[in-house]
């Protein structure tokens, strides 16, 4: 796919040019972000071993945010603008698809660390709750 850029012969103010550059950058970043919604980003390349094909599958979470602004000061010449943004893309393996000659199997990938953290958090919450209830019920000797 090719694109053609036509430049206007009329001189444009720097401010407008900067804004258009910023908008283009944002649009490109948006396109890259929403590229994560395609099926190719979830499934990896098939790995062939003898008669078996293994395809890794992962979950993808992509987040992006930005802000731009401009303002004028008291004087004619005092004006400015700026912007910033940030984002993150996280990927986590979910399963491996095993295509054997006789059947298709899905082998789940279990994140033991994540489960251990969830169990510890829940246990901590439970212990804290019981301890708090016991301290409320215990008689005070003063």
């Amino acid at each position: 796919m090719s694109s053609q850029v036509v430049l206007n012969s009329d001189p444009q103010p720097d401010e407008l040019s900067n804004q258009s550059d910023a908008l283009n950058t944002i649009q490109n970043t948006f396109d890259k972000l929403f590229g994560a919604a395609q099926v190719e980003s979830v499934y990896g390349d098939p790995i062939k071993q003898d008669d078996t094909i293994v395809i890794p599958a992962a979950e993808i979470v992509a987040v992006m945010g930005f802000g731009i602004g401009s303002g004028k000061g008291k004087g004619e010449a005092s004006s400015g603008g700026g912007g910033g943004g940030g984002g993150s893309v996280r990927s986590r393996p979910v399963a491996a698809i095993v295509i054997a000659p006789n059947r298709v199997r899905i082998k789940p990938i279990v994140d033991v660390t994540k489960l251990a953290l969830a169990a510890l958090t829940t246990a901590g919450f439970m212990i804290g709750m019981v301890a708090r209830m016991n301290s409320k019920r215990a008689p005070r000797y003063e």
Partner: protein, 92 residues
């Protein structure tokens, strides 16, 4: 901007031919497009298999880690409710 704010998309991969079967990988994505950012959550949802006889099979892809995590938190929450109710019963 013609895109809607929140969109659920189901996409299929090009078919993979293996052992005379046609295999299509399916993914499901949630797209949220905001004026100041965006969010994409894409996950594998199913594997569609078409045999040479014309039978179609759908094998769902389950995220076992997430299911187990939800179960642990749900059990903790249910246990908390049970302890609170038991403690109230004992005090009265």
């Amino acid at each position: 901007m013609t895109d809607s704010l929140i969109r659920f998309e189901t996409s299929n991969s090009p078919p993979i031919i293996a052992g005379g079967r046609k295999i299509i990988l399916q993914s499901r994505a949630l797209r949220i497009r905001l004026p100041f950012g965006g969010f994409v959550w894409n996950r594998p949802s199913a594997v569609l298999t078409q045999t040479t006889e014309g039978h179609n099979y759908v094998t769902m892809v389950h995220d076992v880690t997430r299911i187990a995590q939800a179960l642990i938190f749900a059990l903790g929450f249910a246990d908390a409710i049970f302890i609170t109710l038991a403690a109230r019963k004992n005090t009265h």
